[in-house]
């Protein structure tokens, strides 16, 4: 303790004075000065560690932590334990090291528990009279709370929090942490009360405000939450470089999203990712990506993911894998929406296999697994439909594709089962069913692709259960589409058609584009031979999302001007429906000469060539041409 006090005196008295003095006559930066100011008095390399006292080694370790050299500090602390295995302070500091710097919570808890055991053996049972004992005891309890919290042992953490307050200890972190624990235990009202106390007492105000905002949002008070987040943002901004305004900004974005105020949600997250701490975590980028996906803005999502990955390189996290699973999930979805099912599968499989550290954020591993599984199921469907409509050069190639499709069919069926079971058993009876549920990673517009495999009667029941508390009119559109999709899957076309027709009118332009595509796909399946409706709907879907028709196994009607019969026959086997009997928006034109095949895809209304492909190998040209179109 003496060494620690000595160190703090150095930090707060000696250093500012010496640094100030040196700043006047040198151009060295503050880090160099800090380094120079401390290295000499605290790390004495002339004496070997084995000849130093445990107090000296502890002081050096403390300095090394501050100098951002945690591994050096860890080595010093281990040397302390070599000298004195019962030195509880070294145990406690190692516990903190594994808790804060490594994220190895189990090992952290081991050290902390040992520190507690040794402390109680050496100092007797609490309460203590001496300040040093009280400080050390409070510190150990604090570490114990944090370790249990990180190991999701909330009851255990609350037990220690009670003990902490029973001995009359108080620290700025206390209200925020207690509120968090109570929230995790589902005691929202108590948590709100605790967070309010935190705000009033001004203890770690930013954190307490942030916590209070989350709690109010959970307690169905979004306006109250937004107000609190505004204060939290202001508080964090007032801290300058030390502040972390991206966190409350991200949270307020989530509230806007839940309120279906997509405009504000987008601008809030954009603001968050532009801040210095905006890419310390992937959440603002991820949330923005999911929102833009609902608006089918694929290029925007790619760009923000690129920016995030460029930015994150500046902040080496605990390990470089932290955000990768989530980024892979988003990249997989982008590829799927761009018609690249192979690439999509590669990303999505990585997202499910990759290591992901979720820490204290609400999103957990099961959120990621279920969201990735649904996207993988969609990617398999797209891949199967791609293989079905591809042009083949030989009979054997076609046979091999049938074999592949069969294997995809089995895999897909299996994954549907797995996704259903994950959502039901590991996610509390599909808690993510509530549209835009906080922490969910699901793409809500296409969630119906999985839900359709459940009986419509259960979907109805679930919707009924949710809309008792969910009064947002925008979310009703999503529920209706899920129900229609389930009806359609179970053969009740008329019911599906009725629901879709009424829902389509209520969709918000731009914000619900992805949902609109889903609704139109249902409409496409229920046209019952009405060619005009089919053509109109298919063209509408193509305008919104060009890969969707092929991904879902529907054809796009086009006019054509093709002389070569083999090209005509081959294209008729794809998901282009060549039809000159009606006037359509798009046209395929063949302009081949001298053995070179030239194909163009033209928008007739603007008379503009959208895509063009040329070459000598017909199959190759046709497949590339199709890839361009879809």
């Amino acid at each position: 303790m003496v060494a620690q006090l000595f160190f703090y005196i150095l930090l707060f008295v000696y250093f500012p004075l010496t640094a100030q003095a040196q700043l006047g006559n040198s151009e060295k930066n503050i880090d160099d000065l800090l380094s120079e100011a401390f290295r000499k008095p605290l790390i004495d390399d002339s004496i070997e560690d084995k000849d130093k006292t445990v107090e000296e080694l502890i002081a050096e370790a403390n300095f090394l932590f501050l100098d951002k050299r945690p591994i050096d500090a860890r080595s010093k602390l281990l040397k302390v334990l070599d000298k004195d295995p019962n030195y509880y302070k070294a145990h406690a500091l190692l516990g903190e090291y594994y808790l804060v710097h490594v994220g190895h919570y189990r090992l952290a808890l081991k050290y902390i528990k040992r520190a507690q055991q040794l402390f109680l053996q050496q100092q007797g049972k609490p309460p203590y009279d001496s300040t040093e004992n009280r400080t050390d005891h409070a510190y150990i309890l604090y570490l114990l709370v944090q370790a249990r919290l990180n190991l999701d042992n909330y009851e255990g953490a609350l037990e220690i929090l009670d003990e902490y307050s029973n001995y009359g200890y108080f620290a700025s972190w206390y209200p925020g942490t207690r509120a968090w624990v109570l929230m995790k235990l589902g005691r929202i009202k108590e948590a709100i009360q605790t967070a309010r106390i935190g705000v009033i007492t001004g203890a770690d105000e930013g954190r307490a405000l942030n916590m209070l905002g989350i709690l109010l949002s959970m307690d169905n008070d979004p306006q109250g939450a937004l107000k609190v987040f505004r204060s939290a943002i202001a508080q964090e901004l007032s801290l300058g470089e030390e502040g972390q305004p991206a966190t409350p900004l991200n949270n307020s974005g989530e509230v806007y999203k839940e309120l279906f105020d997509d405009e504000k949600a987008e601008s809030t997250w954009r603001k968050a990712i532009r801040l210095p701490d905006g890419c310390e975590h992937v959440l603002p980028t991820l949330n923005l990506g999911i929102l833009l996906m609902e608006q089918l803005r694929i290029n925007d999502i790619s760009r923000i993911l690129d920016e995030f990955e460029d930015c994150v390189k500046q902040f080496p996290l605990r390990n470089g894998e932290e955000h990768k699973a989530l980024v892979n999930l988003m990249r997989g979805r982008i590829s799927l929406m761009s018609g690249k099912s192979d690439t999509a599968l590669a990303f999505l499989e990585k997202s499910i296999e990759g290591t992901q550290w979720f820490g204290k954020i609400g999103t957990n591993e099961n959120d990621l697994i279920s969201a990735s599984l649904i996207s993988i199921i969609q990617a398999y469907e797209a891949q199967s439909n791609y293989l079905k409509t591809k042009v083949y050069s030989s009979f054997f190639e076609r046979i091999s594709s049938i074999k592949k499709r069969l294997s995809i069919w089995v895999k897909r069926k299996w994954l549907i089962r797995k996704a259903k079971l994950t959502l039901i058993t590991k996610q509390n009876d599909i808690e993510d069913f509530k549209i835009r549920n906080t922490d969910s990673l699901i793409d809500y517009s296409s969630f119906g692709d999985l839900l359709e495999h459940l009986p419509p009667i259960l979907i109805e029941k679930k919707i009924q259960q949710i809309i008792d508390s969910d009064t947002r009119k925008e979310s009703l559109n999503f529920y209706n589409i899920y129900l229609a999709q389930s009806y359609l899957y179970h053969g009740k076309k008329t019911k599906a058609q009725e629901i879709v027709n009424s829902t389509l009118q209520n969709l918000r332009p731009r914000y619900d584009d992805s949902l609109k595509v889903q609704a139109l796909l249902i409409k496409l399946s229920t046209t019952n031979g009405d060619l005009k409706t089919y053509n109109q709907t298919a063209q509408l879907i193509y305008n919104l999302s060009k890969a969707t028709l092929r991904n879902k196994g529907f054809y796009l009607p086009v006019n054509y001007s093709i002389r070569d019969n083999s090209i005509l026959n081959n294209l008729n086997d794809t998901n282009l429906k060549l039809d000159n009997s009606v006037e359509l928006t798009y046209e395929i034109k063949e302009e081949s000469n001298n053995g070179e095949i030239v194909l163009q895809f033209i928008n007739k209304s603007t008379n503009k060539v959208l895509y063009s492909e040329k070459g000598t190998e017909q199959v190759d040209v046709l497949n590339k041409f199709l890839d361009l179109i879809f």
């Binding site: 295995p85 090992l107 259903k420 009876d429 259960l458 679930k462």
Partner: protein
């Protein structure tokens, strides 16, 4: 359950296994029905169950809306496994062909599960990695073990298959069959063991295979040889090679986040490749084995170097140590866990802390080198094309450093990284030429050679460093898990005042590459092995704490969980066999004693492969035995038949003594066999199985 944990099918594997076992038993019960009837029955039952499940799914019974839906999913899978098991067993009982097809399907299933290992990926499929880790064996050994086990299981399965001459479903363990199958099995077993040994030694000892397994970068051997392979680097395996624990921070790592760990340096140009030079060159490399001590005085002429201690725990065998840059002290360490680590050592290195951008206008080469050394590091390849290309790339570059950078930039921009360049190179030809002046497809070995050839052509001393290249972003608490896929070769040049500095190509175009993710749970497991001992951190300190179980790696159950059921089964087996043989003694009622005496003889006949067929009367059985090679007169069979089926008045009134005498007479030819044969017959489990499944003896 162990299997439940290792394979995630969402539904309990135990339940599925039980359903398949019950399916097999059900098939035996249904063996007298025709296959079409069984199939029809199965389809009918599936149809009924499906209707019931659909009805069940929507029942408002549970508080959770989807609970019953989940339950139906599980039931459907269990049902599917049950019926597949019934039908396949039924078919195999009906026809030997079906049995063969079933065996083939099972083998194909096994092969497809294991097929991830193709292209030298012995770490795939992932569950083999977990098993290997749990058993503490190399992944190659584990893979061979699994393959052999599957083959043996198939063999055992075939051993029990109905032969052409046997009756439906009859298992014949007769003396001849035991000999026939036994010898065959032994031969096949020897073949498995022999071929496994050959495969193992091929991959462990052959330099060609070793190159493939180690990402093209093998281990340095003798002077004058090269550990590098040019053909392919498909062995980009995730197999763990070692654990490095940094005992301090490396804040000013010039290559951050990457870390180079040098194992060896190749500098002698020998024809068309660069090989390990004689001692006297590359003295910065220690060339010591992990069990040797080493120490040298730090070269203080080299600028901006600090010391850093690293502890290295080897998982795969290594001939020489590896360390960050210039090792100055090496001491072997006590192996903390002999089941996981092969050896351990501690190195103190003089680590570089310079900035690569500092190298402006600095000359290359060491002025203290002798003329021989200069010529050694500047030996130019005989092919003039390297010089021409190097001059062309660097024509506008004034300094050595600029030239080095220009060459690295050229290769990074134009070369394509691939694990399979597949260049056709005849023995003795230059393997780098088809890369640099051909398709530019290659991997680190090609890049390093091309760089060194071009640098030397420009008069810049250069050599190849080999060892590991790892990403510190994937380190935890200063612990780095090195995999075989991290083995790497890179070009180095001597920068005056700084020493040998890696200049590595980072290709912009990548055709294929090895898996890059480190298995974090394995890393944590290994870190756990290095935790302080019990005196500092008692093992039981976490007792009573929640959510602190070890990482979810596969844990084998303790041996007692196998031994206790095995012993119980053995006791039940012996008691049953004794009961079958001697229970007649316990009865004082003649009719019961007669029946039990009959069973005693029948069970011993079964042990010798003579079984009463389904539908065969005891008398017919007796006749068959007399007519057969054994020429056995089963008098008790006749006596029992008469006693059972004749009217009460006509029944043989046999006394207890007469029954015992008859039994003695019947058994006498059987007892004449040698004692060891009788022990083998006693071990035959068929009567035991018959006791639990057969109603009529």
């Amino acid at each position: 359950m162990l299997i439940d944990k290792s394979i995630d099918l969402s539904t309990s594997i135990t339940a599925l296994t039980l359903s398949s076992i019950i399916g097999v038993f059900s098939a035996y019960k249904l063996k007298n029905y025709s296959s079409s009837k069984v199939l029809f029955g199965i389809l009918l039952i599936i149809f009924v169950i499906e209707i019931l499940l659909r009805w069940l799914e929507v029942l408002p019974l549970a508080s959770s809306i989807f609970f019953l839906s989940t339950l139906s999913s599980h039931i459907r899978l269990i049902e599917l496994i049950y019926f597949i098991s019934i039908f396949s067993t039924h078919l195999s009982l009906k026809s030997a062909t079906a049995y063969t097809i079933e065996t083939l399907i099972l083998m194909l299933f096994g092969i497809s599960i294991l097929s991830g290992h193709r292209n030298f990926h012995f770490e795939l499929p992932k569950f083999t990695q977990t098993i290997s880790w749990t058993l503490g064996s190399s992944q190659l050994t584990t893979f061979i073990l699994i393959g052999t086990l599957i083959s043996l299981l198939t063999l055992i399965y075939l051993f029990f298959s109905p032969s052409e001459n046997s009756q439906e479903g009859e298992i014949i363990l007769g003396k001849r069959n035991i000999l026939r199958y036994g010898v065959g099995s032994l031969l096949l077993l020897s073949l498995f063991i022999g071929s496994s040994g050959l495969i193992h030694s091929y991959f462990k000892d052959s330099s060609e295979a070793s190159g493939k397994l180690t990402n093209g970068v093998g281990q340095a051997g003798k002077e004058g040889s090269s550990p590098l392979g040019f053909h392919s680097a498909l062995g980009g395996s995730n197999e763990p090679a070692g654990l490095v624990r940094l005992d301090g921070d490396y804040k000013n790592n010039p290559f951050a986040p990457m870390l180079y760990l040098r194992e060896s340096a190749l500098s002698e140009l020998q024809g068309n490749e660069i090989v390990l030079a004689l001692k006297g060159f590359d003295n910065d490399v220690s060339r010591t084995s992990p069990s040797e001590n080493f120490s040298r005085v730090q070269d203080n002429s080299l600028a901006e170097r600090e010391t850093l201690t690293q502890s290295v725990y080897l998982i795969a065998p290594h001939k020489s140590i590896f360390a960050i840059d210039y090792p100055i002290k090496i001491d072997p360490l006590k192996n903390p866990n002999t089941s996981k680590f092969i050896a351990a050592y501690r190195v103190v290195s003089a680590i570089p802390e310079y900035k690569l951008s500092e190298f402006e206008n600095i000359e290359t080469g060491d002025p203290s080198w002798t003329g021989i050394e200069w010529s050694h590091y500047l030996a130019v390849h005989s092919n003039k094309k390297y010089t021409e290309l190097a001059l062309n790339i660097t024509k506008n570059e004034p300094t050595d450093i600029d030239k080095i950078r220009a060459i690295i930039k050229y290769l990074s921009k134009n070369a394509i990284y691939t694990l399979t360049p597949n260049h056709e190179v005849a023995q003795g030809d230059d393997p780098v030429e088809p890369f640099l002046f051909g398709d530019m497809r290659g991997y680190c070995v090609h890049f390093a050679h091309a760089t060194v050839y071009m640098l030397r052509a420009l008069g810049i001393p250069a050599r190849i460093g080999t060892g590991y290249l790892t990403d510190l972003n994937q380190a935890k608490d200063g612990h780095i898990l090195l995999r075989m896929s991290d083995r790497h070769a890179w070009a180095e040049s001597y920068i005056r005042g700084y020493g040998w500095v890696p200049f590595d190509v980072q290709p912009e175009q990548v055709e294929s590459h090895a898996d890059t993710n480190v298995d974090m749970s394995m890393l944590e497991d290994l870190m756990g092995l290095l935790e302080p001992g019990d005196e500092i951190l008692p093992e039981k300190i976490l007792e009573g704490e929640k959510n602190v179980e070890d990482s979810p790696s596969l844990k084998l159950p303790e041996l007692k969980y196998f031994i206790i059921p095995f012993l119980l089964l053995l006791v039940v087996f012996i008691l049953t066999k004794l009961f079958l043989r001697y229970s007649w003694i316990l009865s004082d009622t003649p009719s019961i004693r007669l029946r039990r005496a009959y069973i005693s003889v029948a069970s011993q006949l079964i042990e010798r492969g003579h079984i009463r067929n389904t539908g065969e009367t005891r008398c017919e059985f007796k006749k068959r035995l007399i007519a057969g090679k054994l020429n056995f007169n089963f008098t008790l069979a006749e006596k029992l038949t008469k006693n059972k089926f004749c009217k009460n008045t006509d029944r043989n009134k046999l006394s207890l003594k007469e029954i015992s005498q008859a039994l003695h007479n019947d058994l006498s030819p059987l007892i004449k066999t040698s004692i060891w044969k009788r022990i083998v017959f006693f071990a035959n489990p068929t009567p035991f199985l018959e006791f639990f499944s057969r109603k009529k003896w």
